[in-house]
Amino acid sequence: MLPLTEKAHKLINIISVVASSLLLFGYIILAIFTKSNIVYYDGIKFFLGIAVITFLYGIIFTDFYSRNAKLTMSGLLFLDSLLPIFLIDYMGGPLTPFVFIFYILISMNFLFATGFGILITGVFLSYLGLSIFLHPGNLLAYTSVALSFLIAAIFFDYFGRKYRSLLTQSHDLENSNLDLTANQNKEDALLSSIADGVYVVDMDRNLTMFNAAAEEMTGWKDAEAIGLKCWNVMNLKNDTDVSVCQKDCPAMAVWNTGENVMRDDTCFVKKRGNKKIQISSSYSPIKDKNGKLTGAICVFRDITAGKEVERQRSEFVSTASHELRTPITAMEGYLELIENTKICSIDDKAQEYAEKARNVALGMSTLVKNLLAVTKIEEGKVQTNITNFSIHDLSSEVVEALGPNAKNRNLYLKIVEATNQKIVGEKAVGRSLNVTADREQIREVLFNLVENGLKFTQQGGVSLSITYDKDFATVCVADTGMGIPADGQKHIFEKFYRYDNSATREVGGTGLGLFITRSIVEMFGGSIWLESQTGKGTRFYFTIPRSLD
């Protein structure tokens, strides 16, 4: 069946009805004006019948054609094709030149549907058969006309099929194009309605897509932005106001690594305004179906407000800690003066309470110090002075400094010297045992671990040992204390985490020390872990990269 558009169907239907009506009235007018005997011609009764059927069929099915449009159309064409038989018969039969009308009708029927083509050929052949029967004298002529009908039918059938398949293909193509456009529209709608800004760049970093949220945030219209180099529109800068686009382009990073890139340290200035907008963004590569890179897509959101809150928060913590520090130091100082027998004379009870108060003040000052440290770590503002130094010497210093603490509590604190220390690996030969890090920060790590060990140990003590491999020095701080249960070990390095039981409550602490310790160790490329058995003790290990000297 011939695929046609709805409009074409309707048109052909109307033409068909009009044509059959015209033919009908044409006959009558011809008869009247020529005063011929056409109206008395026998075939006219059939003609009138078929014309009326065609007319009604056309009228009725004009409204219903859509149900089976092609069949309706072919049927109508077929009926219309029947009409000229009578005209030709009246004009002198199949041997007159009018017979060419049949060829046209056969071709048209085959064009629409093979079935109706065969049917109309059959009807015409029957008409020829009838003519032979009525006029047997012209057998040869009739036979040749019949043969030419058959040849024409085969010929038109072939072309009709070809034509229909071509049309079907183009129709399918058109449909798939429509589908594609629909999909495209769907994607565009999705990207436009998303609350995050989205833009796409090609491999030359020209913008090829810019969604509504991106328009809203940047102040650029997509019509202006598309086709421009992305850095002219976005012009990303980092926290220190240095342009990111030329040297540190995230899209280029995506293409170089083939991996997604996330950034939350960039900002851009809104068009026609000085408003700086801080964004968090993710960049992903776009590849065609062969895996070839064709561009990058960026999804970004405005985090200006969040960053501001974060800044205010850390500023508050920093200011509050600084402001707290001075009075706490003063409090500690006054309490120390009270306890100093050279300055004051108080009774034993007062002495005891003053000492307790001083310990509380000391805890407070540790908390403030740790809070400040955490704020600095989280802001990435820890200033470091990286040098090569002996971790063994530093450990000795810490042991010496904390020695009195251990002695007061009848605990030992010592360094266990490794015997037969052998370092294997190609880089092991001829190198000092120095490590590379900030000496003061590592002192802090050692202090924290040793103090912790002493704090949670009742009997025995704390020992330090250092081993080296080709890349790292590993320091072990082992105590003989209460140990950390398995469920606590998982969280022990988390901020504000404290394993809660009666013993830890007694000892006290901020829950920040090990968080800070881990952060420092990791800052210098080391790692930290622990082994512990409840009741037997805990071993903390941390590594620091060895220096190359």
Binding site: T326, A330, G333, K342, Q383, D438
Partner: protein, 122 residues
């Protein structure tokens, strides 16, 4: 009896250090800012100056610089006290000629007394 000039802008800390030093039989004079510190240093001729870094008007570093450039005070012992624990600050203090550099959060009162005695004994 050694004379110590204590330069500290916080009144409580000045109070505490004074009391503690006096208990150790030091002779104490105080100053609450850089300007006053310079005046006192010339007038009182202390054996040791405990110098806070962060102060109004003239910072401790500048005070030290002037002290070292002034003939009367260029040999006076100076211990710098600060909240700043950056190595760069410690280096700056040492290069300006401080005899000792103490970070407030890392030392106790007793430590300060100990250091003062140590520096004076040099």
């Amino acid at each position: 009896m050694a004379k110590v000039l204590l330069v500290e802008d916080d009144i409580a800390l000045r109070d505490i250090y004074s009391a503690r030093f006096m208990a150790e039989d030091f002779d104490i004079v105080t100053a609450s800012d850089g300007e006053m510190a310079l005046t006192q240093a010339v007038k009182e001729k202390p054996d040791l100056i405990i110098l806070d870094v962060m102060m109004p008007k003239i910072s401790g570093f500048d005070v030290l610089d002037i002290l070292r450039a002034t003939p009367e005070t260029k040999n006076t012992k100076v211990i710098m006290m600060t909240a700043l624990s950056q190595s760069s600050d410690i280096d700056k203090g040492k290069s300006l000629g401080a005899d000792e550099y103490l970070v407030k959060s890392q030392v106790t009162l007793t430590d300060v007394i100990k250091k003062a005695k140590e520096v004076l004994a040099r």
